[in-house]
Amino acid sequence: MELLATASGTSSLVVLVLAVFGASLVEMVEAFTIVAAVGVTRGWRCSLQGAGAAAAVLALAVAIGGVPLVRYAPIDGLRVAVGALLLLLGLSWLRKAVLRAAGIVARHDEKAIYTETVHALKSSGNSDDRGFVEGFGVAFKGVLLEGVEVVLIVISLGASQHRLAQASAAAGAAALVVAVIGVMVARQLSEVPENLLKMVVGVLLTSFGTFWIGEGAGAHWPGSNASLPALVGVFGLTTAGLVLSMRRVVRPVLVEAEVES
């Protein structure tokens, strides 16, 4: 019995770490594209300082928002609220990823974002001081905006399982991985399979959301935490099925219209 409880606790920790790491990876790739564009046009000093300042603000948000939730909020109410938030984020990520994978909506294009940002910064050519402030601002805003969803996911998952430290560490590790790979290849990370990652994270967040809402409302999941991997499997299979059916049914209509017009 004890062994079963340990196994289910480990499986929920693994799903938590995967969800936070994947979500952070997706958002950090987008943020890195902006930071790299600023670095190339306005210099790496202002770019890295802007990114660092935004990362500090995000870490502060986790500390201010997460720690009191873990310590003082009633656990059942917290789980329903957190589950609702995760379900909202997860379903919208999943819907977007399915539509992109089926070719119905255009994929996220890091190269286009990079070129656009470089062009915007170059065309507003100005003095060194103003250039520094502008570069700092663009890098700061880019990292902050992309990081907000990560912060919400870290606080939600960390607080509901009382594992804020592990969730924060997973997000930090993802940021580090993106930064190291980005510096090594020294360009935008357009080869990262962003949509696939988004789909996997969408499945994980949706599973967690459904699980926590039920748990908070007093539902009994068979095997408790061990049912999380089962939920992941069900949502994953359904997502794959949705992508295939969308490709077969809707894609031909779109392609036909493109050819004729």
């Binding site: 919208s92 009994h220 359904t238 969308m246 809707v250 779109l254």
Partner: protein, 84 residues
């Protein structure tokens, strides 16, 4: 409306757009999942089938709705093409 009121309104609109955006059906689904979880807990022990079922139906419906809209827009642009 004073400046503070306007800022509060903008903040509420910003949060709504960030969380709900163009998919209000997800908000309804979340409310339904929470409500059904509470009801089922009292009267019936099959939450583990019903709750994921609601989520799956809403996701499939939402994807289909968007796909149909895209298909219709593509067809409309095709029929308009000769006028251009």
């Amino acid at each position: 409306m004073n400046a503070l009121g306007r800022r509060c309104r903008l903040a509420v609109v910003g949060v709504w757009r960030f969380l709900v955006g163009d998919t209000p059906e997800f908000l309804a689904a979340v409310a339904a999942v929470a409500g059904v979880a509470l009801l089922l807990h009292r009267f019936h022990p099959a939450e583990w089938v019903v709750l994921p079922g609601i989520v799956l139906l809403v996701l499939a419906g939402s994807v289909w709705r968007r796909a149909r809209v895209s298909g219709r827009m593509a067809r409309e642009s095709r029929t308009r093409a000769p006028d251009r």
